[in-house]
Symmetry: C2
Subunit: 363 residues, 2 copies
């Protein structure tokens, strides 16, 4: 098996959003992509969109990508390993431990299997939503295990790099636990919080600030997609939510007796624990995210923000982050600009000289 | 009493962040501002920062602003009503029903009292953090009641307008219930979720995406400040959190038995309820927020975003919102631009002709 030949012919099983997007991306790079799917009409759609060609009797794929729902991933991976005894097989399911254990239990050839998980997706599924650039700049987890050689694993990482994504190595159990913490549990918590808004008056909702918007934004995600994801990683998600529920019980009990000193301590500890937790999220480019924020008032007319950013560029300052804030029922907006601390004061002075109104950061 | 004279002399009791900011804002408009505080040193600091002058024996304020912690608000308001029998008195505490009921119970002259609540604040408290522009463009709730005349209420609304804020009328009970829903409960939920991150591995945190960042951002708020706010509105906050806890219990039970059809339905219903809730948050300028998003790839070098926004302006398109997204461990960024639906396709075409890479929205 010549590893450098692996990606000359790639077979993709399952032609939904991820499978079709991988097919589009590889086809664009000149790879001979074979698209297969249990549903001939779904397969036909992906082929019509340019994801690849139909299977042929003499296919000899070096690499097979299984892109099917988590609950059937192990079955399909096992079948592909048997059907193409020379091929490497990967899958892209959002849960990694269960397929690996199921394959090990049935005695599949793990020396040719390596599970992966691209941290990319879209609101809508299906080949019609597929894009060759879906993975550009996104983390793509490689769930390494001892049964596969370094050289074969490297071939799968090459595929990931070819699609513009960033391979990140992590074992299957760590993967499942990690995405439960940073993605799956937050999704459910956002949904549970947003669900409360159904009962609010229009006047109450009219007071919504940026905090509520941010806290609930991902609650607009597609339920059908997330039912699958959460079901496949249910145990790990529950492990995150159970202590959260215990903390919530304590908070509610404290709110029911707010004058008690113990109650104030519970609320204060909860807020402090939140401070500690959020400080662990890495900032831009993996840095610690300790930038200084300047808040600039922006009139709500075309071109104002562009003018501001152009003038920041003229001052030679690199903006690390930008947020816009709207206030309800007003025509004034605010741009929060993050810069390295040493640039903050000179930039503030320069912008004020240019006529901008600075408000300072408020959080 | 001549209402138009009211704001010529304003007395502010309590010279923390809000009191001192109101003093700065009114002083800048030429109002004779008297600053008082139970602590002479705190008062001295606010005066040194320009919030106003010290009290004098012949003071005759037309309007008094009580800016003290919620638990002493009613006491101070009652004392001021007695001490200045011609003056209108307002307060700015973050809870509105308890002070009103306490004042009513002690027979205070409610015809001269109207509680308000500016929806503005900063991470740090105290006069040193005060700013004249703290309230610009922010909602400022006026908790109207039947005991005060329209004309007197209008005088207090004038004060709010003078400070650049937007008066919003809402009765005291509605206020407390509303801010519990859109501000206080979300704060606790964000803190409870962020607290889970303390136990995550660095590798797990390295997978943090924009969803987690948004969901937990307000968890970095000041615990000391929020203990006061949550304690003052404890009952209403608990009313929001209790059904959330019940829903969370059901979700955890469903995750513990993920294969059961009832479990899938519970998860799906939770996610759908979140969709419904988040759709009730008004968009920019109180509109429904139904904009179309375009995602444009941005190289991480100075001036790229400014160039993009300038070119959007050249196309004559008004940008309704802008978000930046970072992907970990990559030098590529994405700008998500929201525009009215009819502008989306022509703008996308124009930007692609200008050489930009469009990725389409992913949520």
């Amino acid at each position: 098996m010549n590893d450098r030949r692996l990606t000359e012919q790639v077979r993709i099983v399952g032609s939904g959003l991820l499978g079709a997007s991988i097919g589009l991306g590889l086809s664009a790079r000149g790879v001979d992509v074979i698209v297969d799917d249990a549903s001939p009409s779904t397969r036909g759609l992906a082929i019509a969109y340019g994801a690849g060609r139909a299977p042929a009797p003499d296919d000899a794929p070096g690499l097979i990508v299984v892109a099917v729902p988590p609950d059937v991933t192990a079955d399909i991976v096992a079948a592909e390993l048997e059907r193409y005894p020379e091929a490497l097989v990967t899958d892209v399911a959002s849960v990694k431990l269960a397929p690996l254990e199921q394959l090990r239990a049935r005695g599949a050839d793990l020396s040719r299997y390596l599970g992966t998980h691209p941290m990319a997706g879209r609101e809508r599924g299906g080949a019609v939503s597929a894009r060759a650039d879906l993975f550009v700049g996104r983390p793509w987890i490689v769930a390494g295990h001892d049964g596969i050689s370094y050289r074969r694993a490297a071939a799968i990482e090459d595929l990931i790099l070819d699609l513009g994504a960033v391979p990140i190595e992590m074992d299957a159990a760590d993967h499942d636990r990690s995405v439960a913490l940073v993605s799956h549990a937050p999704q459910l918590v956002a949904s549970l919080l947003a669900a409360r808004l159904r009962g609010g008056s229009a006047a109450a909702l009219g007071l919504s600030g940026q905090g509520l918007r941010d806290t609930t934004r991902i609650a607009s995600s597609n339920p059908a997609l997330w039912v699958q994801i959460l079901g496949a990683n249910a145990a790990e998600v529950a492990e995150v939510l159970r202590p959260l529920r215990d903390d919530l019980d304590a908070v509610i009990a404290a709110l029911d007796d707010p004058e008690a000193p113990a109650s104030r301590r519970i609320i204060a500890d909860t807020l402090a624990a939140g401070n500690d937790g959020v400080s662990r999220i890495p900032g831009k480019h993996g840095q610690d995210g300790r930038f200084t924020a300047l808040v600039v008032k922006i009139d709500d007319k075309p071109g104002e923000l562009a003018r501001l950013l152009t003038e920041i560029g003229e001052e030679g300052v690199n903006m690390e982050d930008l947020r816009l804030e709207h206030s309800p029922e007003t025509k004034v907006g605010f741009a929060e600009i993050s810069v390295v601390p040493e640039a903050a004061h000179p930039l503030a002075t320069a912008l004020e000289q240019r006529g901008w109104t600075l408000m300072e950061a408020e959080r």
